[in-house]
């Protein structure tokens, strides 16, 4: 197992390198002189030239890229052009807020999505099923940022129950996570429902019934574990989607997280900050996917067995 995790981590390296290379190339090709960005519009040409020399901007592209990667390996992602603070520090300061709303959103999506999906499948065509299916359809189509604004309108403007902006207390976290969770919850409901429906038609479910097992036992002991296998994958993908969604939701609720950091770095042409934060997001997404795959092997004996065999 450890060997597998190690291998997967190694496989992530070329992907991260690829991302950094692509980003580095695009940013290099876009107009705009970093020295000018740092020094502002009123700096003299001499000052700019001096800074360019100092930053090594006159070097060959590959030299600069090599240097960047070399530093990145030691944990140095460069300094932000705007704040001149190290990129790593900026990310470290911002990431916790993003992580908090993403995890809370995940929690909402899973804790509501899976049970609703199961009930929906078990009571197929009931009113509960039809309404949850409709709701899921609606939620997959609602833009998260619009849902966020609607929530603000209702709970902050009209009812004055929750604060509209900021990220200080759990009350601040509530609306962002809900708007972020809605689409993922809908996906999880749909996925759980359809896999559950497929599972309860399987022969082994009939075998369980033929043993004299009660419906409750058939569902909980025999069906759910099988149905959850594909759902785990969906949940894994959701986390990656949540990170992306946070980008926009943070903007709605004025949360200074990784998303706002990225958007601001794009708007202000802060190349090191952009590359750094995007790479960081890729690493997080990669680790999450790895985690999901590892979890999968623990739930599904068929996959687990493959590793045992390989080890021999």
């Amino acid at each position: 197992m450890l060997k597998y995790i190690g291998k997967r981590l190694l496989l992530m390296i070329p992907v991260i390198l690829g991302i950094s290379f692509i980003l580095f190339t695009i940013m290099d090709l876009t107009p705009g002189d970093p020295a000018r960005v740092i020094l502002g519009d009123f700096a003299s040409q001499a000052e700019i030239d001096a800074l360019r020399e100092e930053m090594g901007l006159n070097d060959n592209f590959f030299v600069r890229y090599g240097r960047y990667i070399g530093n990145a390996v030691t944990g140095d992602l460069g300094n932000s052009y705007r704040s001149s603070a190290p990129v790593v520090e900026e990310i470290a300061a911002r990431f916790p807020s993003t992580l908090k709303i993403a995890l809370l959103a995940m929690l909402f999506a899973v804790l509501i999505g899976i049970p609703v999906g199961i009930i929906s499948a078990v009571k197929q065509y009931s009113i509960a099923d039809i309404s949850s299916t409709m709701l899921a359809l609606l939620f997959t189509s609602i833009p998260a940022f619009w849902l966020g604004l609607l929530l603000i309108l209702l709970f902050s403007v009209r009812l004055r129950l929750l604060p509209a902006v900021g990220s200080d207390t759990w009350k601040h976290m509530l609306m962002p996570s809900i708007s972020l969770a809605a689409a993922q919850m809908a996906t999880i409901i749909r996925m759980t429902r359809s896999t559950m429906l497929e599972v309860i038609r399987q022969d082994y479910i009939r075998t369980a019934k033929a043993k004299g097992a009660a419906p409750r036992r058939v569902i909980f002991h025999h069906a759910i574990k099988n149905a959850l296998l594909p759902v785990i994958t969906t949940v894994g993908l959701s986390i990656s989607n949540l990170l992306g969604g946070a980008l926009i939701i943070e903007n709605v609720f004025g949360i200074s997280g990784l998303g706002t950091l990225m958007v601001n770095s794009v708007k202000s042409k802060d190349t090191p900050l952009l590359i750094g934060s995007v790479m960081f997001a890729a690493v997080v997404a990669g680790l999450v996917n790895l985690g999901v795959d590892v979890l999968y092997t623990y739930v599904d004996p068929r996959i687990k067995a493959q590793f045992v065999k390989k080890k021999k």
Binding site: F145, W146, L149, L243, M262, A285
Partner: protein
């Protein structure tokens, strides 16, 4: 089991052409039909927009005297802070969303499809290299990739379209690749090869028609996510820029007025939702119609 056993002899109705029977199954799906009607309505809206609207005066022209009027018979959806008729802007906005959606999916499907076909058909090193590159793109959440690309290219209609297309290429490449791999070894392909058919012709004439089903479903659902994505990008100011009446940027503009003029924010959202919903419904319906066994 018994149920399936008994249904088997009913094959005699299978005379209808495949396309007709897909349409027949699709038509029976009420939700899918609702989606289709909704989508057609949006298309009609988009196409007819230029007939009775003049872009410069009705859509982006500012009329400060009439600013921030609530919905009325003169302005069905009210007016915004520049006195522009929201109804006219919404109608024009459908053009932008549909065009961006269609072009993005078109580009992504062509490029992704080509990559997937080459990768799947030839296998080996080409496959390895192409798929590793796709992995790099897939490693990032779609929105983040799009933001990074827009960051490099700068905002604007064409750049957003490009960024979105690039984000979607890997998904199409994967779908086409797996279809091609599953069909590559089949006898009809071997037979075509034996006749000396060129690789390009084999892929286009013999393999692609068999892979088209999942591709169309993916394209429909992808168009929905693209419309959502573009609206999101515009909303945070990295997409289509004002004064173009993109629904997402309309929403973004409406934020300042939200407290006292909520309709400005509610209406564009509803339209984004309807467009996305219609495509999702069609996509789901197509998937069920193409593969009746999957239907719940």
């Amino acid at each position: 089991m018994a149920e399936k056993e008994i249904k088997a002899p009913k094959a005699k109705v299978k005379k209808r052409s495949q396309l007709k029977s897909i349409w027949f199954r699709f038509r029976k799906n009420k939700l899918a039909m609702f989606g289709l009607i909704l989508f057609l309505a949006l298309v009609i809206m988009a196409v007819s927009a230029s007939v009775f609207l003049d872009y410069d005066t009705d859509v982006i022209g500012q009329h400060m005297k009439e600013r921030l009027q609530f919905p009325s018979s003169a302005h069905w959806f009210g007016t915004d802070q520049y006195g522009r008729d929201v109804f006219a802007r919404i109608i024009w906005g459908s053009r932008i969303s549909l065009v961006v959606g269609l072009f993005t999916v078109g580009i992504a499907m062509t490029v992704g499809g080509a990559i997937g076909a080459v990768s799947g058909y030839y296998g080996g090193k080409a496959d390895m290299i192409l798929m590793r590159i796709m992995d790099v793109f897939l490693a990032l959440p779609g929105t983040i990739l799009a933001v990074a690309i827009v960051g490099a290219l700068g905002p604007g209609l064409v750049n957003v379209l490009l960024a979105m297309s690039i984000c979607r290429i890997p998904q199409f490449a994967r779908i086409v690749r797996s279809s091609v791999i599953s069909l590559r070894g089949q006898e009809f392909v071997e037979a075509a090869k034996a006749c000396g058919t060129s690789d390009f012709r084999i892929i286009m004439r013999h393999i692609m028609p068999n892979a088209i089903g999942p591709l169309v479903v993916q394209a429909t659902l992808n168009m929905a996510t693209t419309i959502l994505g573009v609206a999101g990008l515009s909303f945070i100011g990295l997409g289509i820029e004002a004064p173009m009446p993109e629904w997402g940027s309309m929403l973004s503009e409406a934020r300042e007025q939200m407290r006292y003029y909520p309709y400005l924010m509610v209406i564009p959202g509803i339209f984004i939702m309807l467009a996305v919903l219609s495509l999702n419904l069609i996509g789901d319906g197509l998937r069920d119609a193409l593969d009746p066994r999957m239907k719940n």
